[in-house]
């Protein structure tokens, strides 16, 4: 029986994730949202109880958890079709992964602080090249294998061996040299070059430690579900873009320090499905077919009203990492080669009305190249402020004079910028409208994703979106640091001199583990990026989840993924 059970898990465990962010969360806009949600929950609870019935009555989650039930959650899509935490970047899959794969450390969503999980303690050498972890005793994978130092070594070596197949792992393990088993409970990770972001990386799903048996499978088989973790749930099955089923693991006793429930999960399991249509997803939530609606784009304010009217709850949290942003092409000889034009662009864009028009009134306004929940995210609102008069002055001094049709011209050439997009959304149309007011003609060029790959690689654009994301501020290096990547955003957003400086600033952030020095390095980096017009943030990427009133104990991870350890369902 036991053998059968193990086999099943061995074959089916795995997941498919598809996400594009990870990150650290730290204060910022996130707090207000959390507070609002908590008070909403409180109101709902008080209303339900008719006021004060046992418990403190200050928070619905103080009620006694009831074990049992399966949590039904619906995401919007699964394009990457992979569940292996080590490989996947698709955020929805990473939310699933978080619940069956554990990591060495965890990150506090409220403070960004790294806290113990599978590792009880660790030391980092001052040059950020040696990390020594002491592992928790008695941890096993769901196939029965003990989680010891050699398992951790197998896992990290395994992620390194994935190479480019692990889009995020490549940067998380940048400079990885080797792992050394000191004794069964102690593992030392060595880097050729400093990697101060590695400690945070050990808290992510990407560096989740999977059973040694997993690394004997091919990368494709792992993506398709042959992955075994040590989590509170076990992945029973995963069918790309269709469904995933997780079930409670009996005898779980090693949650992260952030989890209240120290033992087995309350839920019997989790059923994941994918619903493409927003209205169907929301309707399924309000009619009780699903318990959690978790789309990629923020749930519209109209849909939020519908969910609340059905006594549901809205949870929001900014996705840590890179904010939604546009990169310019400065190497094409176009208008954006001129720094003054790029600076004018910042002033021409009204980020406040972007947030309130495209989303809703209290939607957080983006403050810089990072979302507000990213550690070391700086508030650069002043540099990004809407200032049409300033934009006009800059464009005038750059030689772009206003023509009779309201657009600006220089040497008979119209100030036209081509913006490559794959779908025309209200956001881009609003930008077009805003820039028109400053005399800039923004041409929205809608192309297929295949064309997008071609055109961006060839540099045939003035502006293009950039969306790769990750948990530590070093994530931005994945798209903007030429020392890390050669993708279009890096190649075209900076001239050679700027690129050298940007690389230097990214390296500075990784060279030290001292938080004050890292903060200073990333502050300088963010200032530099905006001062030199390397990125144009457009909005804070907020993850919104709709919950039915049956769901209690909901929690975000620091990467704004689902953490189901404390979730229970009322009858």
């Amino acid at each position: 029986m036991a053998i059968l059970w193990r086999r099943r898990n061995g074959e089916d465990a795995g997941g498919n994730t598809d996400g594009n962010t990870s990150g650290n969360n730290r204060s910022g806009g996130g707090h207000g949202w959390r507070a609002a949600t908590v008070s909403l929950l409180t109101v709902a609870f008080l209303a339900a109880c008719g006021g004060g019935d046992g418990g403190s009555g200050t928070n619905a989650d103080n009620a006694q958890p009831v074990p049992g039930g399966r949590l039904k959650i619906a995401f919007w899509a699964d394009f990457q079709g992979c569940i292996d935490p080590n490989q996947v970047y698709w955020i929805e899959s990473r939310s699933i992964d978080r619940n069956f794969a554990d990591s060495l450390t965890d990150q506090d969503p409220a403070t960004g602080e790294i806290v113990p999980w599978l590792a009880t303690s660790w030391t980092v050498s001052p040059d950020a090249r040696e990390y020594t972890f002491t592992l928790r005793k008695g941890v096993t994978f769901s196939d029965g294998t003990p989680l010891d130092a050699s398992a951790v070594k197998t896992a990290f070596d395994g992620v390194r061996d994935l190479g480019a197949k692990s889009t995020l792992g490549v940067t998380y393990l940048a400079g990885y040299e080797s792992s050394t088993v000191v004794d069964p409970q102690t593992v030392k990770v060595n880097f050729k070059v400093p990697n101060a972001a590695f400690l945070q990386a050990t808290s992510t799903t990407t560096l989740a430690v999977l059973s040694p048996a997993t690394y004997k499978e091919t990368a494709e088989a792992r993506c398709a579900g042959k992955v075994i973790g040590s989590g509170q749930f076990v992945l029973d099955s995963y069918t790309a873009a269709k469904a995933a089923r997780l079930s409670r693991r009996a005898g779980y006793a090693w949650p992260s320090a952030l989890v209240k429930n120290k033992g087995d999960a309350y839920l019997d399991g989790i059923d994941v499905s994918y619903i493409t249509e927003d209205s169907v997803r929301v309707g399924s939530l309000t009619t009780g077919t699903i318990d959690v609606a978790w789309p990629r784009l923020p749930i519209t304010s109209a849909d939020q009203e519908i969910i609340k009217a059905a006594n549901g709850v809205i949870e929001t949290r900014s996705l840590p990492g890179i904010s939604a942003q546009i990169v310019p092409n400065v190497n094409r000889g176009g208008p954006l080669a001129d720094l003054k034009v790029r600076q004018a662009l910042y002033k021409a864009i009204d980020l406040k009305s972007y947030a309130s028009t495209v989303y809703w009134d209290s939607y957080p306004v983006v403050k810089g190249p990072y979302d507000s929940t990213t550690p070391y995210a700086a508030d650069l609102s002043a540099k990004l402020a809407h200032d049409p008069a300033g934009a006009a002055a800059l464009l005038d001094s750059a030689g772009w004079a206003k023509g009779p049709d309201g657009y600006r011209y220089k040497d008979g050439r119209k100030l036209t910028l081509t913006y490559l997009i794959t779908a025309s959304t209200p956001g881009e149309q609003l930008l077009q409208d805003q820039l028109k007011k400053s005399g800039i003609d923004l041409q929205l060029k809608v192309v297929t994703s295949a064309q997008l790959t071609q055109l961006t690689t060839a540099g045939e654009f003035d502006l293009a979106g950039s969306y790769l994301t990750r948990g530590d501020p070093s994530v931005l290096g994945s798209t903007l640091d030429r020392a890390v990547t050669k993708n279009y955003a890096t190649v075209y957003s900076q001239d050679d001199a700027t690129a050298a400086e940007v690389s230097k600033l990214f390296a500075r952030g990784l060279n030290t583990i001292d938080p004050a020095q890292r903060a200073a390095a990333y502050k300088d980096l963010q200032d530099y990026l905006i001062d030199h017009g390397v990125v144009f943030p457009t909005y804070d990427r907020v993850q919104v989840a709709g919950l039915s009133n049956k769901v209690h104990g909901f929690a975000w991870t620091s990467e704004s993924f689902l953490r189901a350890n404390d979730i229970w369902l009322s009858k």
């Binding site: 490549v170 069918t239 499905s273 994703s449 690689t457 050669k486």
Partner: protein
């Protein structure tokens, strides 16, 4: 008859081969860099790869071979129903298709049944009823059915029958109840078209001299319509039915997306968006095969209903 059948079969195979080849050309020859596209589709950050790694990846997907070698190799595999590995979902295309095909076939069969019930039923009534206002109303109905967009009808049905009344599930593939709403959505435009054609040809048939003869013999309107008019009027509608059955596969893209059904249509949509070339290729061949098979059956039925067809074929 045998020669007719053999000729039609050869034609069918030719169409299948052409569908495969055209897809191959479009997917492999037009984009400037299929390697990058395909690697990107699999979630690989191509800019991170060294030229050596890139080459080994190309070799793994067989993309380093000359296009013609790739074409014949894959055609040979496809003849053995082996379409290779999906680039985005990490399983073989065969597994994906055999996982997704049954729900689409069920959906298609049910909606073809509904085509016949709605389409023929409406046409029959519209031609039989003699009270003018009802006749006009029934004859205008198909136009309404055709003008309603499928996704709109689907969402409307979900709102009413799933969310408001709670009678039927809004999504999924479990149980017969989950087929009802998608099948009705899928059947609506098709049956409207079928009804339109059938009403028209029934109308024409009613003018034929043999109908007058039949009426003169003292047969009732009902008997004449059933025995004499309908069989003759059915021929154009039968042709249309063949085309419509093929359309259920393509229309399934919308319906399966709206109803979150994991079928071939949804797979096609995901594969196209994800540039999953082997899957796209397989789906197109399947759709072409269904088209061809249904039309073959229709042609054979044709010669059964109207023996002149097979005879003419032999002459030419």
């Amino acid at each position: 008859m045998f020669r007719y059948l053999a000729g039609r079969l050869a034609q069918a195979l030719l169409v299948l081969w052409a569908a495969y080849t055209v897809t191959f050309v479009i997917l492999h020859v037009l984009p400037s860099d299929p390697v990058t596209l395909q690697l990107a589709a699999g979630g690989v950050d191509v800019s991170q790869l060294t030229p050596g790694q890139l080459h080994s990846m190309e070799a793994r997907y067989g993309l380093d071979e000359p296009v013609l070698t790739q074409y014949f190799g894959r055609l040979w595999d496809a003849l053995h129903l082996d379409f290779g590995m999906s680039l985005t979902q990490n399983v073989s295309v065969g597994t994906l298709v055999s996982d997704r095909l049954p729900s689409t076939i069920v959906l298609a069969l049910v909606s073809v049944g509904l085509f016949l019930v709605f389409g023929v039923g409406l046409a029959y009534l519209a031609s039989y009823v003699q009270w003018l206002p009802a006749r006009v109303l029934l004859r205008r109905l198909p136009a309404v059915g055709i003008s309603l967009p499928t996704f709109f009808v689907g969402l409307l049905l979900i709102q009413v029958f799933a969310f408001s009344l709670g009678w039927l599930p809004a999504r999924g593939t479990e149980g017969w109840r989950s087929v009802v709403l998608p099948a009705v959505t899928l059947a609506l435009p098709g049956s409207a078209m079928l009804a339109q054609v059938l009403i028209r040809s029934l109308g024409d048939t009613w003018q034929e001299p043999y109908i007058v003869t039949a009426r003169a013999k003292g047969l009732s309107r009902w008997a004449v319509q059933l025995r004499h008019a309908f069989r003759n009027a059915a021929l154009p509608a039968l042709t249309l039915l063949g085309v419509l059955v093929g359309y259920t596969v393509t229309n399934a893209v919308v319906v399966e997306t709206v109803f979150s059904r994991n079928g071939i249509g949804q797979l096609a949509q995901q594969a196209v968006l994800g540039q999953d070339v082997p899957v796209v290729q397989a789906v197109i061949v399947i759709a072409a095969a269904i088209f061809v098979a249904v039309n073959l059956v229709v042609d054979l039925l044709y010669s059964f209903l109207d023996p002149r067809v097979a005879h003419t074929a032999r002459v030419t």
